[in-house]
Symmetry: C2
Subunit: 780 residues, 2 copies
């Protein structure tokens, strides 16, 4: 095993992921899974010294830019991590000399990355080096690192060359203009630049400090600069066994930060001042105090969100790892942002926001930080105009959300992908045009949030407008088939991307029908109970009540490809007629099928990347009987390759819903290994944020069995796996917080504050009340 | 010694530069000095496998682009060199495992780069690898490489991953749009893209071939693509001691190539077709035949240009090295191009053209390939409008050439440089505004060319217009000082850039006076002898004869800061009043002074980067007596740091002119080490083309003593250094070619064709005639 999961001992047991071998050929995996972030910035775990295989990356939430001829993407900002170290004249480079001991670990309890090395140089100089790094949760603009160096068998000069390198790119694409380099009398260096097209200003300021045997050393740094680079070089002579420490503190600001939100235009000077002023204060406070404050914030956070289980250590670690990374990528500081498919951990999917956000990531936040969940949904409201634009461009009414979204709300899905190995030409990417289900996915998550929080304010101010406008889109999108007197949706792609340009995709049709009905129901309720709100919203969007009756008629007549007698659901018209292929050799090997078949061929086979129907059975589970679920599971599950990281967690939940606990656990074990597992070739371009959110759902919705019923009630039907003795977690439900403990035969439900109302909860088909000041224990 | 100069044996003696140790910390030096090129493209000698310290670079002459907010630069094109090799599962990486033997060499006779390695992998697999590479002189669009692999103590799979990587940048700046990737049924991959701003299309096409023990292997390549990358992966099992060969052939075309010069617009498809069609033909011909044709071209070339000397091997090698690289960077294929300060060998000075071209590089071409020299001068005519534009922008008349020139003739000198270590702010670069002497330097070189070739056609069609327009500029630029009744030129910088914003810089004033007088003289001659020409040119530029008399008056009154009595020449007004500093600690260490003083301080001291006055004594040597030369040498030489690579060769020549042969040789030895010497920290960003040209001049003008007298005659006053027994070279002089052999006391001058006229040549103050069908031998 290359990844070590058992490094954490005592209070850090199941809190640490590490490696004990230097694997220069697989830096990408570790750069990603050891990413540090605070929702404002994400810093891939590139090493201080550079290696040819690396992908250095640092991203700021919302810092998008568009290179000519390409789609908008999250820009890789200048690198502040790189430090070149010379030990008595020899460059520190783990590819040379001999590694005597090596350990790198991410401590997810404290939010710290640590690397311990004993290295023997090519000329036999032995040195102990420790690297520590954190990205502050306490001051989002701040990150810092510390290097400790002890020469073990020699005395000599330690040379440090460290600075800010703006030569970094997104795989060769440069988003920043050259900008300005500065060096101040206080020894602070800075680089200020603006993005090419979006014209966002960015400043990085850095300050170094040096210590020998605990005592601060006089700074004697030489300044240097090259194109897009500013750096400081220093040289200190130290003796054998002395302890040399180098600290680097960095602040980062952009002109789009909420810090400046009252200003129309923010100048480079203003952000420079903010960065330098903040840095000066932080220098006063000192590295150690700043790290303690950061650690304290993480520890407090874990008090609120930690899920514990009495079961295999890996399971415990994995669920924490999932929560750690989701929180690290959550922009709690800014209501105009959302979470990308890779968070802030890599270039994959260009920092774009997909349905991954609403369907996979959001539930964790809805049930732990509903206020944050609200902000993230606000992102969709903020960019409603972009969705209106897309609807208009496509000849529809209302609002049609983009499949991939960045900084404007407009569609940013690239149109071309890699070269097809059979045609020799680039593949056309159709998802931006065809994965229209994103629009109902967003409505689903708004409804989900609303059900779990009863946040009427959100619905009145934002939600209602979204659901009306998006329903308007669907009403105009539906195609009437006079022969069959039914409404159809043709030429789409469902969640399963191995089928495209399909007609009457049941997932889409069913979700649209559901959305229209929910919108009608909620609209009627608002009109009846909150006429002022109704008037305000409908007059804004020029909505007439007639539209509702039109929707009613249409919703009733939407074609759903389900065999009423058997309960079999057709993924889409014609799926069952497609070619069947023996999938055995592709199972468990993500993407392996693409080595034998090209894209065109794959879309003509009965093979699923992830399953539409299983997803539907999950999202609207109460609509389907256990028999229907089992029948469709039996048909689709064997045909699904899980080539999407979104697939296993959903399969885990549905397996548990149909009480196949073994299969459920199997899928869970697969899902939690997507990023954290041993496959060193995966995750290079970023975390699979949806799978991390899916892991949380598999635990709380799957094993925990928490769900909202069709009646809008809380239900808890747990199914603990064989290997787990118990499971404890906390959820927010309609303004109150509860702890839930589950064992094999008992649920203990405890309010964490003095609740004002009784809570009605359904457990295994029976209703129970948790009354104020009580604890509910149910044995089954 | 890290660089090996004595690798070449027998017929390759003094034809090979090599290294026998792998020095991963200093790749830049070797990437530059081992650059291969053919005037169309230049390919830095990056290794096939990548290392973190490298700077991969491939440049196409004239392929300029401008990144927003920066100045135009030569764009680094996608990398076609990179090949990742796996040997029985282990990545070939010289930083790992053990190097059993290593040798890399550039063969400048044949134009080939060769690397021989025996490498033991970390798991003790031993392999012999040979890499060969050439950039064809025979087909400028073509380059190729060959890798030979022999497993010495194992049998196993050889994996090759090779392609085209468009993630390359100019130090982080991306000039190309994403472009198109293609893979054809013939196994040809290609990448086509356009520059961001200049909209030049570029295509690179590549084809692989594999051989086992001399027999061609069936191609079984898997295609892959990533962002801006296309590559082919293949895997062959081979046995111990078998010989596996991999060949990669590449063609490169751009839409601005002369191949398409008749077309207004050239499409991507057209260049793709050209690249693929050419490549297919080349594949037919085969690698070995293609290499032979290329080698033959080099060998023929050497017949024409080789300079031989009976002296230290290093001197012999160095002069060949200089010629080799100048020829490699000379765009013989295109009359709209010139030669940049770094040729096509690196990013330094952004591929811009300076006076380095006319004053340093051109003489070699004037005397060996006058037709090519003419084309290069045509570049200045081609961009005369840019110079007119610059004059206008600055409120002057006529044509004012830019200090740095690229693809439009407009000024492209950047305005800001690195961070000043005292002020902490970027330094303002003033050369674009102040180094106005470039305009007379260009006129000087036109006159030089004209004198050496008697190419009246060039003068009538291009030269006259340039000298009139630039003289017009100077006439409007001169400032009248009524108090002194003299014309002055204030606020300039001369060749010595350690003084700026100076008044009455003698180099500039003197050259302007010279230029005006030469222009007047030639104009009068043309008017008298070629009235039609005169009318044509003057009517085109609306020139009136009155202007000439105005120039006459002005030229007479230009202030020259020379003490008539002593002959001392003031570099500029006030130079001798500036602070004197002990320069001893900075001598011989290029740029060392900048570690103690910042730019502002340096400009206030009596310190020279290179010497204006020595340069003047060289360019217009016949104007000054030996006493004047010696006096000024004695004053300026000790104050000169030679922090410019342009300095030593000129000092060599002037030292020889004043018959200080020892000093002359000393400076020559310094000049030929600028790129070729042992300093591994120099030359990283490209060759010092001017110094290479200067080396040729030091040999032919300095030791050879060849010069054009003020009367326009050929003079040969040789001064062989102590260590040289003889020196042989060839020159073109006014349409004829001669060989010149010099020993310590004899000159042998031989026409290389049957000359039609007798040649008058001045040797040590006496005139001699070389008559047709004779050989002139002069003993002294």
């Amino acid at each position: 095993m290359v990844i070590k999961y058992d490094i954490g001992k005592n209070k850090y047991r199941n809190w640490i992921v590490g490696e004990t071998d230097f694997k220069p050929e697989y830096p990408g995996k570790f750069e990603t899974i050891f990413t540090l972030g605070n929702g404002y910035m994400g810093v891939r775990a590139a090493t201080e010294e550079t290696y040819r295989e690396e992908t250095r990356g640092c991203y700021i939430a919302g810092l998008f830019d568009k290179f000519p001829g390409e789609v908008t993407e999250l820009a890789n900002i200048p690198d502040w991590l790189n430090i070149e170290i010379k030990l008595d004249g020899e460059k520190f480079d783990l590819k040379t000399g001999k590694i005597l001991s090596y350990q790198r670990q991410i401590n997810i309890k404290d939010g710290q990355l640590i690397r311990n090395i004993e290295w023997e140089s090519p000329t036999s100089r032995k040195t102990r080096l420790t690297f520590e790094r954190f990205v502050s949760l306490d001051n989002i603009h701040f990150a810092a690192l510390k290097v400790k160096i002890i020469p073990l068998n020699y005395s000599g000069a330690i040379e440090i060359c460290s600075g800010i390198n703006g030569q970094t790119t997104n795989s060769g694409v440069q988003h920043f203009k050259e900008g300005r380099l500065r060096f101040s009398s206080e020894g602070i260096i800075s680089m200020t630049s603006r993005t090419q097209e979006s014209n966002i200003g960015l400043v990085i300021a850095a300050k170094h400090r040096f210590y020998l045997n605990g005592k601060i050393l006089e700074e004697k740094e030489g300044i240097g600069s090259q194109r897009r680079k500013i750096f400081l070089s220093s040289r200190y002579k130290i003796k054998q066994n002395e302890e040399f420490i180098f600290k680097k503190m960095v602040t980062v600001y952009t002109t789009r930060d909420p810090d400046f939100k009252e200003k129309e235009k923010v100048s480079d000077k203003e952000i420079e001042k903010a960065a330098v002023d903040n840095l000066k204060k932080l220098i006063e406070t000192g590295y150690n105090n700043l790290f303690e404050a950061h650690k304290e914030r993480w520890n407090q956070l874990w008090e609120q969100i930690d899920i514990t289980l009495d079961g295999p250590d890996f399971d415990q670690l994995a669920i924490r790892f999932s929560q750690f990374h989701i929180y690290q990528m959550t922009p709690v500081h800014d209501g105009r942002l959302s979470i990308a498919a890779k968070g802030l951990s890599g270039e994959g999917y260009k920092g774009h926001i997909f349905w991954d956000m609403e369907i996979f990531i959001l539930p964790f936040l809805i049930y732990t930080f509903p206020e944050i969940a609200k902000r993230l949904l606000f992102y969709r409201y903020h960019f409603l105009d972009g969705a209106r634009e897309k609807a208009k461009e496509n000849g529809f009414e209302g609002a049609m959300y983009p499949w991939e979204c960045a900084d404007t709300g407009c569609e940013v899905t690239p149109k071309w992908g890699g070269v097809d190995f059979k045609t020799g030409k680039p593949q056309r990417i159709w998802t931006g045009e065809l994965e229209q289900h994103i629009t109902c996915d967003i409505v689903y998550s708004i409804w989900h949030y609303f059900q779990a929080t009863c946040d009427y304010d959100f619905m009145y101010n934002y939600g209602l407008e979204i659901i009306l406008e998006t329903s308007r889109f669907w009403a105009s999108r539906l195609e009437y088939n006079p022969e069959k007197d039914q409404y159809e949706i043709n030429d789409v792609t469902g969640p399963d991307e191995y089928s495209e340009h399909i007609n009457n995709n049941t997932f889409t049709n069913y979700m649209v029908k559901w959305q229209l009905n929910k919108t009608i129901q909620f609209s009627e309720w608002v009109k009846m109970n909150q006429l002022e709100v109704w008037k305000k919203v409908t007059s804004k969007i020029k909505f007439t009540f007639n539209e509702l009756s039109d929707w009613k008629e249409k919703a009733d007549k939407i074609y759903i490809g389900m065999d009423k007698a058997s309960g079999f659901i057709h993924q889409y018209e014609g799926f069952t007629d497609k070619k069947e292929v023996d999938l055995l050799k592709y199972k468990g090997k993500v993407g392996a099928i693409a080595q034998d078949y090209n894209w065109e061929e794959i879309t003509q086979m009965q093979v699923l990347k992830q399953s539409d129907i299983i997803m539907l059975l999950y999202l609207l589970g109460d609509d389907f009987s256990q028999e229907t679920k089992r029948l469709n599971w039996g048909y689709y599950e064997p045909k699904t390759l899980h080539d999407s990281s979104l697939s296993p967690s959903i399969h885990a939940i549905v397996a548990l819903d149909i009480e196949d606990v073994e299969k459920g656990y199997e899928y869970f074990e697969r899902s939690i290994r997507i990023d954290l597992g041993e496959n060193l070739k995966s995750s290079w371009d970023g975390l699979h944020a949806a799978s991390l959110g899916g892991n949380w759902q598999a635990v709380v919705y799957g094993f925990g069995g928490v769900r909202i019923t069709n009646k809008g009630r809380l239900r808890i039907n747990p199914h603990l796996p064989e290997k787990w003795k118990n499971l404890k977690f906390k959820i927010n439900w309609r303004g109150e917080k509860y702890s839930i403990e589950i064992t094999k035969n008992k649920i203990t439900l405890k309010p964490l504050s003095s609740i004002s109302r009784s809570l009605l909860v359904e457990i295994y088909g029976k209703d129970y009340f948790l009354h104020p000041n009580e604890i509910l224990k149910v044995t089954y």
